[in-house]
């Protein structure tokens, strides 16, 4: 125990003396947690719209102002030539063209129907999809308004319609930060743990201090514990700052479920991730190698964790990868407990799977860590 205490003392001394590592560990996650959710905004705003109006009627004016007043669109061009508007799209000045045909108002009034043409620049799929959906919705509403005007005058000829009213649970105002911040926090904690843990051990290899340690009677498990415990503590610290300082003060996120449950899972998760960091370090000789390998895993973990894109919409093979990704489970747990208030029985499986990861990574790493080459 005396040796372990000394190893920990040494480790913390080194961490706190490292003038470039310290801000990396403590400041970076906080700054990123403040900046990243703002960038990872799912709502598409400021869609540049170009309207080609061949009608110039009251209805076409009404439709135009209804679209613009929605707040999602910026009218970048209003003309009467589709060709000109297409040129605008080509020059990236507008994203969406709405063509209102000649006789728009006349045909609605006389023949009860009319067609509109929408052309969307689909280079950015999300923007195109959402932009198209928004404008469709607005036109649908416009259509309903018109209908209501008419139905009032023809009282006895009411058309039966189904109106859908939805209510949002767990995130009433569809605030994307509630959804993103817990997930990003998970990624940041993961990053700090994997990078710091693997780089720290490889650094000892690179400088040669590990040689000196290896010829001493220090036991393998003492040395490994001496490396894992400091980063476990740092991981918990960063998580707490992220959840209770940044999460609460900046984003107003207050966990609905039991915070203790989140911490229980975090403890287990950190053991698994530090095991992975240790594993990477046993296979790397230089910090550069460790960094590259850790970066590779981070990228896969980040993109295939359901943080940005829903796992349900991934192809089968990608779902398998996502299910082998420990980050996926923690992000799920975070969202379930923080937003939904899930209890232990809801995330029991997550606990079992994470235990599996922790055992796998750590035992693999310990088997592969040798004092003798």
């Amino acid at each position: 125990m005396r040796i372990l205490r000394f190893l920990l003392q040494k480790e913390f001394k080194q961490i706190f003396r490292n003038k470039s590592l310290l801000p990396m560990i403590f400041l970076m996650p906080i700054i990123q947690l403040i900046v990243m959710p703002l960038a990872a905004d799912y709502e598409v705003k400021n869609i540049n719209l170009s309207i080609v109006d061949h009608d110039h009627s009251t209805y076409s004016q009404k439709l135009t102002s209804k679209i613009i007043s929605s707040g999602y669109f910026i009218l970048s061009d209003y003309g009467n030539s589709f060709k000109n508007s297409l040129q605008q799209v080509e020059q990236d000045k507008s994203d969406l063209i709405l063509e209102i045909p000649q006789g728009f108002e006349k045909n609605i009034v006389r023949e009860n129907k009319q067609k509109l043409f929408i052309a969307v620049n689909a280079i950015n799929g999300t923007k195109a999809g959402l932009g198209g959906a928004y404008i469709n919705n607005i036109i649908f509403n416009f259509n309903n308004d018109l209908r209501n005007d008419w139905i009032q005058s023809m009282r006895y000829n009411q058309i039966p319609t189904i109106e859908i009213v939805s209510s949002n649970w767990f995130n009433t105002f569809l605030n994307y930060t509630f959804f993103m911040v817990p997930g990003i926090l998970v990624v940041l904690v993961t990053m700090v743990c994997i990078y710091m843990c693997s780089l720290n051990i490889v650094k000892e290899k690179e400088i040669g201090t590990i040689e000196q340690i290896n010829v001493t009677p220090i036991k393998k498990f003492h040395f490994i514990l001496g490396k894992l415990i400091p980063f476990w503590v740092i991981g918990v610290f960063i998580f707490s700052v992220g959840l209770f300082v940044v999460g609460r003060l900046v984003y107003g996120i207050i966990p609905v479920g039991n915070a203790g449950l989140v911490y229980a899972f975090l403890s287990l998760y950190l053991i698994a991730m530090l095991g992975l960091g240790l594993l990477i370090s046993t296979y790397s000789e230089t910090q550069q190698q460790a960094m590259s390998v850790a970066f590779f895993f981070m990228m896969v973990f980040l993109l295939m964790s359901g943080l940005f894109t829903s796992i349900d919409s991934m192809p089968e093979w990608a779902k398998i990868i996502a299910n082998c990704n420990p980050v996926t489970y923690f992000i799920e747990v975070m969202r379930m407990v923080v937003l939904k208030g899930s209890n232990f029985s809801d995330i029991k499986n997550h606990f079992i799977i994470m235990t599996g990861f922790a055992v796998l990574f750590n035992s693999w790493a310990i088997l592969n860590y040798k004092k003798t080459s």
Binding site: G208, E211, Q212, P217, S373
Partner: protein
């Protein structure tokens, strides 16, 4: 009783392509100062790493302090001190913290063995609050030696301790080793510098993983059979190539301000014949004298065998 014994140790790297240690056997007696002398890549570090249980040999057996390096490695790690060739202490810890750390790791304290390191430590004590990374080369070396000694090892392994250290510090370092020897510590030291060989009690000359000769430095130089001459003239670089082409000469090597030569026949007239030859080649201020062979001469001779 020998403290360190090696029996037919072989070690290869890259799956057998690179032969680093080739069938090496030797033993070092208790309290002996033993030197492994050889150029870079001779296999000195590999032998040290095998003996300090950091590396497993492909074949052969070795023991330190009577403990087998494979089976009793834990016991060996408690009793040996190892100073790797590369400075490998924690650069971001201070001198004192490093020393304290290694003392703790060996379950002892600085105070318990202070007597042993006192003479060395006293020189770096004024800088004890300084980080190890900020010390000069010689100081680093002293600190590393202190850390290797802090648990009073029975066998001390020093891998090229004087490489990259200035002449004065090198001399000091060897003086320190002599004092440690008096404390009864067995010392195994490796060095690429031939002039340091004479400071050891016994040496092993190594080349390409093989031991060419093991003996006391005196006996090794005694075994040099030929008469050795040192020669000097006006144009030294031309002299070297001319001498090498000359049929009278067996060997010729540059050696500081002289060239060391041996003749094919150690006859009196060989020398005068050579002098005439050189005069005919327009060399001036030719100087030739008989010298006693050094370890380096022996090494070169063994190497060319």
């Amino acid at each position: 009783m020998s403290d360190v014994i090696l029996n037919n140790i072989c070690k290869t790297y890259n799956k057998g392509i690179v032969l680093a240690v080739d069938d090496v056997s030797f033993s070092v007696g208790k309290g002996e100062l033993f030197g492994l002398i050889g150029p870079d890549g001779a296999g000195k570090t590999s032998i040290f790493r095998i003996l300090t249980t950091l590396l497993l040999a492909d074949s052969g057996s070795a023991s330190v302090n009577g403990y087998d390096v494979v089976n009793d490695y834990k016991k060996i790690r408690q009793h040996v001190g190892y100073m790797p060739g590369k400075f490998s202490l924690y650069q971001d810890l201070t001198v004192e913290e490093n020393l304290k750390f290694f003392a703790t790791v060996f379950n002892t304290t600085i105070e318990a063995n202070y007597e042993l390191i006192k003479e060395i430590y006293i020189q770096i004590e004024p800088f004890k609050k300084r980080r190890a990374g900020k010390l000069s080369g010689g100081m680093k070396q002293k600190l590393a030696l202190c850390c290797a000694l802090i648990h009073r090892p029975t066998v001390l392994f020093l891998d090229e301790p004087t490489t990259g250290v200035d002449t004065v510090s090198r001399k000091e370092f060897w003086d320190m080793l002599k004092r440690l020897k008096q404390e009864g510590i067995t010392i195994l030291v490796s060095t690429p510098y031939m002039d340091e060989a004479t400071l050891c009690e016994r040496i092993a000359l190594m080349q390409d993983g093989k031991i060419m000769s093991i003996d006391t430095p005196k006996n090794i130089t005694k075994q040099y059979a030929e008469i050795l001459y040192a020669i000097k003239a006006s144009n030294m670089s031309h002299l070297l190539s001319d001498l090498r082409l000359n049929k009278l000469i067996r060997s010729c090597n540059a050696f500081g301000e002289y060239h060391h030569i041996t003749f094919n026949d150690d006859l009196k007239n060989s020398k005068s014949e050579l002098l005439n030859y050189l005069k005919s080649k327009n060399y001036i201020s030719i100087e030739i004298k008989q010298v006693a062979p050094t370890i380096e001469d022996c090494f070169i001779k063994l190497m060319n065998k």
